[in-house]
């Protein structure tokens, strides 16, 4: 508010001068020669006198550039967007070059703090302008100017120069912070540009491939969680509107690239992702759960007489980069849970368990899904540790008759169909590549099937597995071996169940899946 008199005009003049310099014949792309003269000009205008003036300068410049773009896009004389766009880039790219040079040359060459501070300031200003513009113009909001600024600035700041390499991690962090502020739930009108930014090949490469010790992985994971959380309410609808389909398909492409190039990333963060993906997004969830470390060779799940219990990999636990124990709330419930797991008492814990998971009586939103998922994984990991502490390995015998299995069996029996579906999904979400969790939860699912006291439980276990199998590929290894075991092993008497033969389509489906499995 209350810009000093004349500042707008000075900013406008400086910007015009800079755009002219940037595009002039003699400066080339580097613009460094003209930059020092321009900085002198900025000093003469008093722009660099105080932090407040610098901040206002950037805000005004951003707004002027954005206004230029809106004017260009509104041109009626030239309706071809492919000719209008370069006109927009003309202004924006020059502005970005100025920002990049100011960041690079801010403070001494070795003083990274000043540079990072300035970058954070500029990103914050552009983000603030975006959000204000987004809220003001509403459906007339244009993504282009902001997307261009963020993209080109990122490319400039990732040039292979020592000064920039020294601050690269901070650049990435600043960008992730800004993108989180601009996540689709906060700026839905920017969502497509946002996904373009997050999945830009240079951004993805820097975040996931070249950042040392995978330091940027948690930041990237948070951005994907932002995306899934935004999509979730729309994906719950049976029929997807075109804008949603577009964003969903784009998300699938990005996940495919991640699955191909960075499967370990999907492995490490699978829990957080599945926690926010709606249960009906089966293929998207399967994509994530199908990831396995690149140095692993998966045994063919269709190998006759595959002895999963003998695989070396099931001795090792996967990395789960989420604090599961912290997600079990409230603290009293966690305390009671730990007490029960330790002492298998009091029995009332089991009868109260459902109540802790239920949050409302409205169908479709009865249960705290995040708590359910955390509970299942926590109990399972505790079970594995408990079995190992006795010098044993998890198998169909050792998993039985324990506090942990009490909880699983109680949930199978006590939950209604909706709760049971969500609970079984939580178990099935651990059926991934060969590891101790996949093995334990595979055994658990099969054990629950065998020991079920009602056919409804067996039916729902089958439903949860089958819907993950009938969807288009990929399918997680653990899902395949569990289902194969269920249909092959006569112990489970799978084919004798009524629900297998309830309709011709279902019968055909089971036969078809069984044929492809066997």
């Amino acid at each position: 508010y209350e810009d000093p008199p004349g500042l707008v005009e000075k900013t406008d003049q400086l910007l015009r001068d800079w755009i002219g310099i940037y595009h002039s014949q003699h400066q080339g792309r580097d613009s460094t020669k003209a930059f020092s003269m321009f900085v002198h000009q900025m000093n003469v205008y008093g722009i660099l006198k105080t932090d407040d003036l610098i901040t206002r300068f950037f805000r005004l410049s951003t707004q002027l550039c954005v206004e230029t773009v809106y004017r260009v896009l509104a041109e009626k004389t030239n309706p071809s967007l492919s000719l209008l766009r370069p006109k927009c880039y003309h202004t924006l790219d020059a502005f970005v070059r100025l920002v990049a040079l100011l960041v690079k040359h801010s403070g001494d060459a070795n003083n990274t703090t000043t540079k990072i501070h300035l970058l954070n300031k500029v990103l914050g200003i552009v983000a603030g302008c975006l959000l204000q513009d987004h809220d003001t113009r509403i459906t007339d909001f244009q993504q282009l100017p902001y997307q261009r600024i963020f993209t080109m600035l990122f490319l400039e700041l990732n040039a292979p120069e020592p000064v920039l390499e020294a601050i690269n991690f901070h650049v990435l962090t600043a960008y992730c912070h800004t993108l989180h502020i601009l996540r689709p739930s906060k700026a839905a009108g920017f969502c497509y540009a946002w996904l373009e930014l997050v999945s830009h090949r240079v951004f993805m490469g820097r975040m996931l491939a070249t950042s040392p010790q995978q330091k940027c992985w948690p930041l990237y994971a948070q951005l994907l969680i932002d995306l899934f959380k935004y999509l979730a309410p729309f994906l719950r609808n049976a029929e997807l509107a075109k804008p949603v389909t577009m964003l969903y398909k784009g998300t699938l492409r990005v996940l495919l690239v991640l699955l191909h190039d960075f499967p370990e990333f999907l492995c490490d963060y699978h829990y957080g992702f599945c926690d926010v993906i709606p249960p009906n997004c089966i293929q998207m969830r399967n994509l994530i759960l199908s990831a396995f470390p690149r140095n692993m060779r998966l045994p063919d799940p269709f190998t006759p007489n595959l002895k999963v219990d003998m695989l070396q990999e099931i001795s090792y636990g996967p990395r789960i980069l989420a604090n599961i124990a912290m997600m079990i709330t409230p603290p009293q419930f966690k305390k009671d849970l730990d007490s029960y797991l330790k002492a298998r008492a009091p029995v009332t814990f089991l009868s109260e368990l459902r109540g802790n998971l239920q949050i409302s009586n409205n169908p479709g939103v009865r249960y705290n899904v995040q708590l359910m998922n955390a509970l299942i994984l926590y109990v399972g990991t505790q079970a594995i540790a408990y079995i190992r502490s006795k010098g044993l390995s998890p198998n169909m015998s050792t998993i039985a008759h324990s506090a942990h299995m009490d909880i699983f069996q109680n949930l199978s029996v006590d939950l209604d169909t909706e709760g049971r579906y969500l609970y079984l999904n939580a178990i099935a979400n651990q059926l991934r590549y060969p590891n101790s969790h996949t093995h334990y939860f595979s055994c658990t699912l099969l054990y629950l099937f065998a020991e079920a006291n009602t056919e409804a439980i067996q039916e729902q276990i089958t439903r949860v597995l089958l819907e993950r199998l009938i969807v288009n590929r990929p399918h997680p290894w653990g899902l395949l071996i569990t289902f194969i075991e269920l249909i092959k092993n006569p112990t489970y008497r799978f084919w004798q169940h009524e629900f297998v033969h309830c309709a011709p389509e279902i019968e055909k489906l089971f036969e078809s899946v069984a044929r492809s499995c066997m």
């Binding site: 595009h23 002039s24 014949q25 003699h26 400066q27 080339g28 792309r29 580097d30 460094t32 490319l155 040039a159 996904l195 373009e196 999945s199 830009h200 090949r201 993805m204 490469g205 996931l208 491939a209 994906l235 049976a238 029929e239 997807l240 389909t245 577009m246 398909k249 784009g250 998300t251 699938l252 492409r253 990005v254 495919l256 690239v257 191909h260 190039d261 009906n280 089966i282 293929q283 994509l287 169909t417 909706e418 049971r420 579906y421 056919e455 409804a456 039916e459 729902q460 089958t462 439903r463 819907e467 009938i470 969807v471 288009n472 590929r473 990929p474 309830c502 389509e505 279902i506 489906l509």
Partner: protein, 186 residues
């Protein structure tokens, strides 16, 4: 049986709906992920050529920017001195390069038009450019086909290859058409 959406009957509903209204169950049955324009069998990483979430194809070589020394960037100095693009001045080799490297672009159509003007014809089934070998007599000719020796442009090995061929006229593309509002200006 479980008589709500959470059992096998619930799944059956999806399966039946897929036959009458696939849009209603697109998430339940998923889609063919190999048809999204990504080479999932590639031994190389995909991200360096990932053209974005809405792109149907990876980046073309010319789309990938690379940092070069500023001294190399001379377009500002010479851009007004360059002759404008005129396809009729270029050899067949360059036209084929433009055709094969500008998929889905006006340049592809422009190159196709110029090749057509030089008596190359695009075989719509074999997806290859062919032309008659000068001086070669046809072995057979009817109103619907002809047989003879033709030059094929082998884009894999980047050369013309002479082959005998049975050519059906209806398999050849006519003159490529560029709509007026896509006229390319250099």
């Amino acid at each position: 049986m479980v008589n709500d959406q959470f059992g096998i009957v619930g799944l059956l509903t999806f399966i039946r709906a897929a036959e009458t209204d696939p849009n209603l169950v697109s998430l339940a049955l998923g889609q063919d992920l190999t048809a999204l324009g990504l080479n999932l069998n590639s031994p190389d990483n995909l991200y360096p050529t990932f053209a974005g979430p809405w792109a149907e194809h990876p980046c073309r070589p010319q789309d990938i920017d690379f940092h070069v020394p500023p001294e190399y960037l001379i377009n500002h100095a010479i851009r007004d001195k360059l002759a404008s693009m005129k396809l009729s001045r270029y050899k067949d080799d360059l036209l084929f390069f433009m055709f094969y490297n500008n998929v889905g672009d006006v340049l592809q159509i422009a190159a196709a038009q110029e090749l057509y003007a030089r008596d190359w014809r695009y075989h719509t089934e074999d997806k290859v450019w062919i032309t008659q070998v000068p001086g070669m007599v046809l072995m057979e000719k009817t109103s619907v086909y002809e047989r003879g020796t033709y030059y094929f442009f082998d884009a894999q090995n980047w050369r013309k290859v002479a082959k005998e061929f049975y050519l059906e006229y209806n398999k050849l593309e006519g003159r490529p058409i560029m709509t007026p509002n896509l006229h390319h200006n250099s």
